[in-house]
Symmetry: C2
Subunit: 203 residues, 2 copies
């Protein structure tokens, strides 16, 4: 199909498609002349993924990383999720020492050996920001958070379609990033429902 049809089918305006092409997010079409190219269903699917990533607040650079991982998945499956996380959230901007990492892993109930340093640093950063705002997370609440996030992660990882490597990468990379707004929206909804019950004058 021509670009005009790609725009109609995908619902993405032509100037935006051209921008994605220039930014290297969307692969070039098959060139049919000096000024024209044709596009196929893979371009439509790719446009949907680009929109979804940008809609969840990913930067253009972050989106480019995620797409590159989708296109060239690591050969070693143990690196799969690491690559997915790196794509969705690059190297942590927060620095922690080995002993800080050790004591944090211990507090969370993980063994230091099984933890990626960058992922621990992200948790440390979130706690640091909370502390800066004078907000401490009590140990029992932290235990609740860890237990439920472990249960969620366990169900998600168990659902990875490992028999199909391509689908597996897609599941991990997109699932990691795109599920986040869903989880946060569900928490806020559940808080609102619980709060209404707690504060209801009829109770």
């Amino acid at each position: 199909m021509r670009m005009a049809e790609l725009s109609t089918v995908s619902g993405v305006p032509i100037p935006t498609i051209k921008y994605y092409l220039r930014e290297g997010l969307l692969p070039a079409g098959d060139r049919t002349s000096a000024t024209q190219a044709t596009y196929d269903d893979a371009h439509v699917r790719r446009l949907r993924v680009i929109r979804a990533l940008l809609d969840t607040g990913a930067s253009v650079a972050g989106t480019r990383h995620v797409l590159a991982t989708l296109d060239e998945p690591p050969e070693d499956p143990t690196e799969l999720l690491g690559a997915a996380h790196a794509a969705a959230a690059p190297t942590s901007a927060f620095e922690i020492s080995t002993s800080e990492a050790e004591s944090l892993a211990d507090r969370l109930g993980f063994s230091l050996d099984s933890c990626d340093h960058d992922r621990l640093a992200d948790v440390a950063r979130a706690l640091h920001v909370l502390g800066q705002a004078g907000f401490e997370v009590p140990d029992d609440v932290m235990t609740t958070y860890v237990a439920h996030m472990k249960a969620i992660a366990s169900a998600e990882i168990a659902g990875t379609p490992i028999a199909d490597p391509e689908e597996s990468v897609r599941y991990v990379v997109l699932g990691t990033t795109l599920i986040e707004p869903l989880l946060l929206a569900l928490r806020r909804m559940a808080q609102q429902v619980e709060s209404r019950e707690l504060f209801s004058p009829d109770e």
Copy 2:
């Protein structure tokens, strides 16, 4: 204290403090002359909250909303969490019909009466973005998400310090927003640990 000392104590550069004053995020100090004012510990605490909110990705306008709710909490406690959510995430940008709201509430296992329409619309939006990327959430995974988010919300709401209204607003408004990066970081860490176990060649 003078502005220079406020800057030293809080670690926020003077031009940034002036910017927060202009934007109405930080209340003016007590004016001691035409060009000087004094600040107190409340300004230091407020600066920490401003930094924490902006660090978690809140906009200046969103931060102003959250701070306004902290300064003037609603009188009716049943409105507390609604105001906190509205401050942290204003009216949903996504529109759903009453029948869509009904079927979504049903799918999630909530009664429509107890759900705020905007919070349901946020969930619908997250599902829409996932669908656009060709990513469906299976019913059993959704059930897992809802169950764990309800458990988290329940623990959080039960911990609200309702005896102290000012502390209670602070807890709800900041807890809603600032805990989000912590939960997401914990999920990613748990995924990485689980994934390493699943894909480990020794298992």
